[in-house]
């Protein structure tokens, strides 16, 4: 037996809150953002001895400084939001789809393949084929882990994660196959001369179509999750499989159906990335969005409208960080630190919304 005297209540105890009024929760999030800006300002000042306000101004102009910059910020926000929309039903069902990255890539590869091989089709038909192909590719990539989960209860986290690597290798193969010009080790801009399979400008705005597609998906997913019978089943399965069984819901069917939808929308994200933005394909086309979108989906609690706000914030931080990096010749890490601090505070605020700390009562402090 130890000779330690064991008669003190723990100093800090964590207990779950019963819930908090929405307004107060947003208040706490607001405080978190303000605190994060103050801490970042202190860090900026201590390390690089610059005026934090000027740094913040640079961040804003980096993201929204010109019409072109604003549109790129919007385009990237839409792209991230699209992946978030794709992940929302899967995560709401508590199916850990870590494989969005791969699902986007195969969607992108399918898009690129159509753009390269089917140039001769009429424009409207080309787009129909591209959309179908990218949806099919993404859905297939999500279907495999879903089938195994439903049939053999395999771990979907590992399975979807590994599917990413298969997708990356596959993409590298096609990049080598479509290499242009020879020896560059990239595909280059596809159909540079003809712009076949490129998103058309609408009202002279190059990226307006991206906004329209993602907006339709966002509203559609919002309604699907909140109002449809499928959405109802997803919520029940995510909350308790026992209850789902009890209600006569076929859990397997819901898992497979939901993952098909999740993968299909990831495929569409790949289509947006290739047809609607870069017009090329590489192993980095997904660019980590498949993972960042997990944060987007969870932080928004699967509400696609809130997801827009969070996507915008994340993309803004990224663009802003890039701007200060090039403006002040800081290296990348300095700007990433600021992004990190801000995210840390926002994620941390969720802890204080869901839990409270109980400090040991005073009288016990002297107890021996």
């Amino acid at each position: 037996m130890s000779n330690k005297v064991l008669n003190q209540e723990p100093l800090l105890r964590i207990t779950k809150r019963d819930g908090m009024p929405k307004l107060r929760a947003w208040g706490i999030r607001g405080i978190a953002v303000i605190l994060s800006l103050i801490v970042s300002a202190a860090v900026i000042f201590l390390i690089v001895k610059m005026n934090p306000l000027k740094v913040y101004a640079t961040m804003v102009s980096g993201a929204f400084g010109s019409s072109r910059k604003s549109w790129i910020t919007v385009r990237d926000t839409m792209m991230l939001l699209c992946v978030g929309i794709a992940l929302a039903p899967a995560f709401k069902m508590k199916f850990w789809n870590i494989g969005a990255e791969g699902q986007i890539l195969v969607g992108g590869v399918a898009t690129a393949a159509c753009m390269i091989y089917l140039q001769s089709l009429p424009t409207w038909l080309l787009f129909v084929v591209i959309i179908l192909a990218s949806i099919a590719a993404g859905a297939l990539w999500a279907l495999l882990p879903a089938l195994f989960k439903a049939k053999y209860n395999t771990n979907e986290t590992l399975f979807t994660l590994m599917m990413n690597y298969v997708a990356i290798q596959l993409t590298s193969y096609f990049v080598a196959l479509w290499e242009n010009p020879y020896g560059s080790n990239t595909v280059g801009i596809i159909n540079k001369a003809t712009n076949r399979g490129w998103f058309p400008s609408i009202f002279g705005k190059q990226y307006l179509l991206n906004v329209i597609i993602v907006a339709v998906l966002a509203v559609g997913m919002y309604i699907y999750l909140k109002k449809s019978k499928h959405g109802y089943e997803i919520t029940v399965v995510g909350d308790s499989e026992n209850t789902a069984r009890y209600a006569g819901i076929s859990v397997k069917k819901v898992i497979i159906r939901t993952m098909l939808i999740s993968g299909a929308i990831c495929g569409i994200s790949g289509f947006l990335a290739v047809s609607g933005a870069s017009h090329t394909i590489s192993a980095s086309t997904a660019g980590g969005r498949g993972f960042t979108a997990i944060i987007v989906a969870w932080l928004a609690k699967f509400n696609t409208i809130t997801m827009f706000v969070i996507s915008l914030l994340l993309v803004f931080l990224e663009k802003g960080a890039n701007a200060i990096a090039s403006m002040y010749h800081l290296n990348d890490y300095a700007s990433k630190m600021i992004t990190g601090i801000i995210l840390f505070f926002i994620l941390g605020s969720e802890f204080f919304i869901n839990y409270k700390l109980i400090v040991r009562a005073k009288e016990n402090k002297e107890g021996k």
Partner: protein
């Protein structure tokens, strides 16, 4: 002077919200003694022991170990004080050997000298008479071998006080007697042993002293040599309390469901139900009594189509068409559409039948959301239904969309039972419908069940409180280790009779008074 009490509990109180799980309990355990802790389900035995093993922290009261006051804040503290608890669910790493599990988590040198460790364990095993193969992997072991590993683990870590939570529930009679020999050896070596059990014959053969808890209170203690099965049952169930629950006379009684020779296995392949036969009749309430885990859950789930039936049949008699339908093999949905409703209130209240993150309206839809050909859900009807249930059952909720997870236990149960009744079932099965409810709410639920009975519904009520079962039911089926140990008339049965049926399997087959 060497203190003789290994453990002394003084006025220990533990509350969970409004529910008092332990109320000012005083208890001592001497060194070199086996103490049986006896009590009905929910009498607070496990809560009390969990405070000794560092899982809960008491709200009030003192714990003395070896005469010194201590605070046990975590299982680690309990280890350091020499207290080891063997839970019903073992905490072992499947892919490790016995020896590896035993040393797991112990501090010591970086390099393990497994040979020396194994020698030490071997010596311990010989001293107390354990039979143990140290190099066998856990996944190759039988339940009894795993239990041995758990006990040796505790002893190897220097436990002087051993708590066993229903250790014989999973053992065969031969394994049980082997375990008892080991426990006696340890007692003779001066260790203090607390054993939680429901089996009266075991209490009488093994222990030196018996302490009884009843509804969170200390109900008394007695030396085993002065106790009999009858006297212990009386202490455990207490005097019959008059609850004054109404019990309308049954009318139009006819067999609705016939359960014939049903056998089910649990996930370990052990028989959870063993050749169970009984009738569920319209216009009456069939009470089901038994120690926790005697097969209550499996019976209801088998009828509802949620539990796989190995053999036997379950026949539904349709009163309108006079047809008979076999329920075994039908899906839960088909069975519910026939009119068999199940409202099961599990320990965590939400795990089955309710969706915690949804509001009342969302939960009402669980039964009916498929209705209508539209792709979208219709929330109008469920909203009306939740409004009615909220008013009739006085559900306290800020709004119909407040997640039911945030409601208090009683209100959650009202939502669950209310929904099942609203579907106007032919057979209504409820389990633990009043679990953790205050008195007034409980009466509301009894009243609801009686109203269903008067409407001609066949009601099954699985309960924990014998007083309630005796006053509410028309017949009581008593389960013991997965077998039907008796079906008695609730109007004439006594509490002691039921208590005995719950704890001691009749050798001559089930008692049948129906």
């Amino acid at each position: 002077m060497e203190p003789t009490n290994a453990i002394e509990l003084q006025n220990i109180t533990k509350k969970f919200g409004e529910v008092v799980a332990n109320n000012k309990i005083c208890l001592e355990v001497k060194k070199g003694e086996i103490l049986s802790l006896l009590g009905e389900n929910g009498s607070g035995k496990t809560t009390l022991m969990n405070m000794l093993s560092g899982i809960y922290y008491p709200d009030e009261g003192k714990i003395l170990v070896d005469g010194k006051e201590v605070a046990i804040r975590s299982p680690r503290d309990a280890y350091e004080l020499g207290i080891g608890m063997i839970h019903q669910h073992f905490k072992l790493v499947d892919i490790f050997t016995a020896a590896e599990n035993i040393v797991l988590g112990l501090s010591g040198s970086r390099v393990l000298n497994m040979k020396a460790i194994e020698d030490d364990i071997e010596k311990l095993a010989q001293k107390y008479g354990f039979e143990l193969d140290l190099n066998k992997k856990i996944y190759d072991m039988s339940v009894s071998e795993k239990q041995t590993v758990e006990i040796v683990k505790m002893i190897y870590r220097g436990a002087n006080i051993l708590i066993l939570d229903e250790p014989t529930a999973v053992l065969t009679p031969q394994e049980t007697s082997k375990l008892f020999d080991v426990l006696r050896n340890m007692r003779d070596d001066g260790k203090a042993i607390i054993i939680i059990t429901h089996k009266l014959n075991e209490v009488l053969t093994l222990s030196d002293r018996v302490a009884v808890l009843r509804k969170g209170e200390f109900a008394g203690e007695v030396d085993t040599k002065d106790a009999t099965e009858i006297s212990l049952t009386e202490m455990m169930v207490g005097k019959k309390v008059d609850l004054d629950i109404e019990r309308p006379e049954p009318h139009n009684v006819e067999t609705r469901i016939e359960v014939k020779n049903v056998t089910c296995l649990d996930k370990y392949g052990i028989k959870a139900l063993d050749d169970v036969s009984f009738d569920i009749r319209s216009g009456e309430i069939l009470g089901i009594a038994g120690i926790a885990g005697s097969g209550q859950k499996e019976i209801l789930e088998a009828v509802a189509g949620l539990q796989k039936v190995e053999s036997g049949c379950i026949i539904y008699h349709n009163s309108k068409t006079n047809e008979e339908e076999e329920l075994v093999g039908k899906s839960p949905l088909q069975i519910r559409n026939i009119g068999v409703a199940l409202s099961f209130v599990p320990e965590d209240r939400l795990g089955m039948g309710l969706v915690g993150s949804m509001g009342m309206t969302g939960n009402m839809m669980l039964r009916s959301y498929r209705e209508g050909g539209s792709f979208f859900t219709n929330t109008k009807e469920p909203e009306k239904l939740s409004e009615t249930i909220k008013e009739e059952l006085e559900v306290a909720t800020p709004s119909l969309s407040t997640p039911v997870r945030k409601l208090s236990g009683g209100n959650v149960q009202k939502v669950l039972v209310g929904r099942e009744i609203a579907a106007s079932p032919k057979v209504l099965m409820t389990a633990y419908a009043v679990r953790g409810l205050d008195i007034n709410t409980s009466y509301t639920i009894y009243h609801l069940l009686n109203k269903q009975k008067e409407k001609g519904v066949a009601v099954v009520y699985v309960g924990e409180d014998l007083d309630v079962l005796l006053e509410l039911s028309d017949r009581i089926l008593v389960l013991c280790s997965g077998k039907v140990n008796g079906i008695v008339d609730a109007r004439t049965a006594t509490k002691e009779q039921i208590g005995l049926l719950m704890t001691k399997l009749n050798e001559g087959g089930p008692l049948n008074e129906q």
